[in-house]
Symmetry: C2
């Protein structure tokens, strides 16, 4: 079982290695990676050791090879279809965010329950009525979904997505979703960021 903090650092290694590869760097040491990421070189070696033997002592890591390994571990070595449910303020922001597309995550269907939104075109997708999730999602073969609906609607939307074959859900609604074991849910608590920042401010004021 790999610790969650290690998994959360993998995307940072991916981004850093991608930048190094794009600027033609062939080899990088864990110390150099550490300086770029403000993470200790010991932590980097420990994280990567969970996944296999990379790099040679005294020489460092082969950048293209390590990049390919980390991409595979993160499952970004192929493109993935995303379903977005809810295009209110947050849904619109997420739909327009280029960062997902850059990593091969393409929003392939957008659903909402608001008649004034259904039929609009957002990032090239016509907004579809939420009651058709069960019919359309299985046809797409999508596996990942983002939920950006109000808390009261989130569980019902989840049930329809899971029935349609979705296996991984990123939930922004402030409610704990009940899903079968084979479905992974990432609960996003955006207030956590604000409160963590407030903690540091309160500490400095003491």
């Amino acid at each position: 079982q790999i610790p969650r903090p290690t998994i959360e650092r993998l995307p940072l290694y991916l981004r850093c290695l991608t930048r190094l590869a794009n600027s033609g760097v062939e080899v990088v040491s864990s110390e150099e990676l550490g300086n770029l990421l403000a993470i200790t070189s010991v932590q980097i070696r420990k994280d990567l050791a969970y996944f296999g033997e990379f790099g040679r002592r005294g020489v460092g890591y082969d950048v293209p090879a390590l990049l390919a390994q980390v991409s595979q571990i993160l499952g970004v070595n192929r493109s993935r279809k995303l379903v977005l449910v809810g295009v209110g303020h947050l849904g619109q922001a997420l739909a327009n965010y280029d960062g997902f597309r850059e990593h091969g995550f393409n929003i392939s269907a957008i659903f909402d329950a608001d008649p004034s939104k259904i039929g609009l075109t957002i990032v090239g997708q016509r907004v579809l009525p939420a009651h058709r999730i069960g019919e359309i999602v299985p046809q797409m073969g999508a596996e990942m979904a983002i939920i950006a609906v109000p808390a009261h609607a989130a569980q019902k939307v989840t049930d329809a997505l899971v029935q349609g074959g979705i296996k991984a859900i990123w939930n922004f609604a402030p409610v704990r979703l009940i899903v079968p074991d084979h479905v992974e849910v990432r609960q996003e608590n955006m207030i956590v960021g604000m409160l963590a920042l407030s903690y540091y401010l309160a500490q400095r004021e003491r």
Copy 2:
């Protein structure tokens, strides 16, 4: 030095204790808290021990007292003024999010550089031109800011905010900000959530 994962769990304790207090619960054990939060009771006791002696062995925690303590630790026992810079897709979503107001974080000024946005009213605030940050922010006495501008503009906006007295910045732009030691920056990498989810999907496919 308190570990970052502990700090990131405090907001979850705050929310849970708030719900318990609102439903009239007087005492709660670490086991009960653990069940509600899907965190082990050992972890809860360890986290809280960093901040002092709470609860009595065999009896549990006094909910209103612990709630007051955690609120103070997180600095939410008083309201705070927030500055938002950038009201594009993400900025608008953040401005409209009730979760911040509920914890006493009030958006007290909004800035943007786009002439078509300046002068609009968003959540009761007229959007102000970004070049006035240095003049207006010191008058407000605000200490926290959210940055939702493109990467190329983020450092310049940061410099103006820091000069204006801002001490804590939540940065959504994908660029590392350079700030003096007295300023705390929380870097938000929203792609991390997507990639962590993708990791679990890739693992299940093995």
